[in-house]
């Protein structure tokens, strides 16, 4: 599954017209202990750059921006009881929501893994 990255430290793994969105391991390491994830509602239509999701740590609330536009199909219900999944498995079990891509060409503007790693190394 191809995975793309943003400069705001979101990732999106794409399978057909479905994308799974989360924050990167680098992002979770900067935020510290995640205490709560405010997830979008399934069915919500979101545009690229919207902030449908908020990740709380003890002293900060961070918006998660949508890497692409689409309609939310599913959210990671497990985070309700275990927000720490975002810390432990940021890029796997700590995914945030899935969406149906409405404009797959938006993926073209995102980074691949190597480009993202180079970007983080430069921060």
């Amino acid at each position: 599954m191809p995975t793309y990255y943003t400069k705001d430290h979101e990732w999106i793994a794409v399978d057909g017209d479905t994308g799974t969105v989360g924050i990167t391991d680098y992002a979770q390491s900067q935020l510290g202990d995640i205490t709560y994830v405010d997830l979008p509602s399934p069915g919500a239509t979101i545009g690229k750059g919207d902030a449908p999701c908020v990740v709380d740590s003890v002293k900060a609330a961070s918006d998660v921006y949508a890497p692409v536009s689409g309609t939310v199909t599913e959210v990671n219900e497990a985070l309700g009881d275990a927000p720490e999944l975002v810390n432990g498995e940021a890029e796997t079990g700590g995914w945030l929501f899935r969406l149906t891509l409405s404009n797959p060409s938006e993926l073209d503007g995102l980074m691949d893994r190597a480009a993202y790693e180079a970007y983080v190394a430069g921060l």
Partner: protein, 517 residues
């Protein structure tokens, strides 16, 4: 001699050597006392108040509304109650115990005369809806205090009712919005500097404005050129804290005000730091249109562990007509009166409305007026001078061991700002702050302002003696050395407080906000 020491008592210092690690059965350790929750101490049915026997029956009309059972709250007798709260009180740090140098909080001594006066029955035991002719003295307090605030700030009027600083900010922004709407000018943007208190953007957003940041210059001030460039017909107001949150005076304040006014906007000043300039500078002379005054900071009404506060807002002539009700207003005879809903159509028709029930934080007004009268115009000026002197003394006594990002730019105002630069790898501002607890001080404000990494904002206030400051400085110098030299004991401080570091992650992930029944 007969039984020369029958009881066997004699003075003794104990047998020498190291103190053993003693585990006590009670959990208390000498004067370090643990205290259960009232729900663990109290018994149902116990009452610490003697109440009359009910004389009559409950009215039949009330029968269908009655509570099924009394609230599940245990009671304590008076001796148990006094002991519970006294024991709890000993787990708190307080100004009465030592320096409390929280930047932007102005934790100064709370004179006890203020408490005594506020408890006079003529102030403490009057109802807000008594006929006005039975509360002339209360209205007198409001008008005298209003007069002082207006005169000290060089402004036209004051809205007395806001209940705290953020409520005062909201009051000021609502006045601004009402004034702009009255002239048919729908502006959408409020400019806020990066270094602002978080309440500023929150307030502007609440009042319906879009917030845009203004950058700071390298010397910690608002970038006048960037600000001027951004001004235009969409900018309703700028919100500036002066002295700012870096503890510096905004030198260009008058130029900022003039530019904002020329562009048709208004100037809000966050007055949280008024203590630095009270009696020395009148914000009205700098072109400010609205400024809240935290009576619980500058005028020393006690913080009480988080309130109550009081945030009157002084207003320019341009904004005064829009102030909320009730409004203390100077009549043509020079006397200040309270305008309420009833006479507002006649005397204050453009008011944006009421922000809270009744007349504001009267109990704080009596305390603040008492404080102000005690100091007088000369004493208040001395307050600002000593507050600034103390902060600069701390700044210059620590800048060789702690990074002071704006230290080279000149004197600070009432607070000294440091950063964590130079600390050993893995050591943070938080560690130094927790180390201060072991030294017997309350930590300074940490990680604020956001524009400085690992910020430490020290506001000693004018009520610290030089000897007290010297003790604080000695502890800070020691802690700075420990942070530079990677003392592992500092990483786990505090060790000597009633509790060690608390697990805030657990508290936020699985909130337990009430005792389960």
């Amino acid at each position: 001699m007969n039984a020369p020491n029958a009881s066997g008592w004699r003075p003794a210092m104990g047998e020498g050597g190291e103190a053993p690690a003693i585990l006590t059965v009670s959990g208390d350790r000498g004067l370090t006392l643990e205290e259960p929750l009232i729900f663990e101490l109290g018994r149902p049915g116990t009452c610490g108040v003697d109440l009359d026997e009910p004389r009559g029956e409950i009215a039949p009309g009330l029968a269908r509304f009655l509570r099924a059972e009394p609230p599940a709250l245990p009671g304590l007798t008076e001796p148990e109650t006094v002991r519970h709260y006294t024991r709890l009180s000993r787990q708190n740090y307080a100004i009465d115990l030592g320096p409390f140098p929280l930047g932007s909080c102005t934790m100064k001594h709370n004179p006890r005369l203020n408490e005594k006066v506020a408890r006079l029955p003529g102030f403490a035991d009057i109802h807000p809806l008594q006929p006005q002719h039975t509360v002339r003295g209360a209205i007198g307090v409001i008008s005298e205090l209003a007069d002082w605030l207006v005169t000290l700030t060089g402004m036209a009027a004051v809205a007395m009712t806001p209940k705290a600083g953020a409520h005062g900010e909201l009051c000021g922004l609502l006045c601004i919005r009402a004034a702009l709407e009255a002239r048919g000018d729908a502006r959408e943007v409020v400019l806020v500097p990066e270094s602002a208190h978080g309440t500023n953007p929150a307030t502007a957003a609440f009042a319906g404005y879009r917030v845009e940041n203004i950058p700071a210059t390298a010397d910690g001030r608002v970038d006048l050129a960037a600000l001027t460039a951004r001004l235009g017909p969409d900018v309703a107001a700028v919100m500036i804290t002066n002295p700012n949150t870096c503890g510096l005076f905004e030198r260009d304040m008058k130029a900022i005000s003039d530019a904002v006014h020329a562009a048709g906007g208004l100037v809000y000043c966050d007055g949280a730091n008024f203590n630095a300039i009270v009696g020395k500078v009148r914000p009205g002379d700098l072109g400010v249109d609205a400024m809240h005054i935290n009576l619980h900071k500058t005028f020393s009404t006690p913080h009480g562990g988080g309130g109550p506060g009081s945030g009157p807002v002084v207003l320019s002539a341009a904004l005064a007509p829009f102030a909320p009700l009730p409004f203390a207003m100077r009549g043509p005879d020079g006397i200040i009166r309270l305008v309420e809903e009833e006479d507002a159509p006649q005397h204050h028709p453009q008011s944006f409305g009421r922000m809270a029930a009744f007349h504001g934080q009267m109990g704080m007004f009596t305390r603040a007026l008492t404080y102000i009268l005690s100091h007088g115009a000369d004493g208040l000026r001395q307050v600002a001078e000593d507050a600034v002197l103390n902060a600069n003394y701390v700044l210059r006594s620590l800048e060789d061991v702690l990074d002071a990002p704006f230290g080279a730019a000149g004197p600070c105002m009432h607070e000294a700002l440091f950063s964590d630069e130079g600390f050993a790898e893995g050591f943070s501002t938080l560690d130094l702050a927790k180390g201060l607890i072991d030294e017997g001080f309350h930590p300074m404000t940490v990680y604020f302002p956001l524009v400085v990494h690992g910020a430490m904002l020290v506001e000693p206030t004018e009520t610290e003696s030089k000897a007290g400051l010297d003790r604080f400085i000695a502890s800070m110098r020691s802690l700075a050395a420990r942070a530079r030299n990677a003392d592992p004991a500092l990483k786990s401080a505090p060790h000597l407080a009633p509790r060690r570091r608390l697990d805030e992650t657990q508290a936020a992930r699985k909130p337990v906000l009430v005792q389960p029944q």
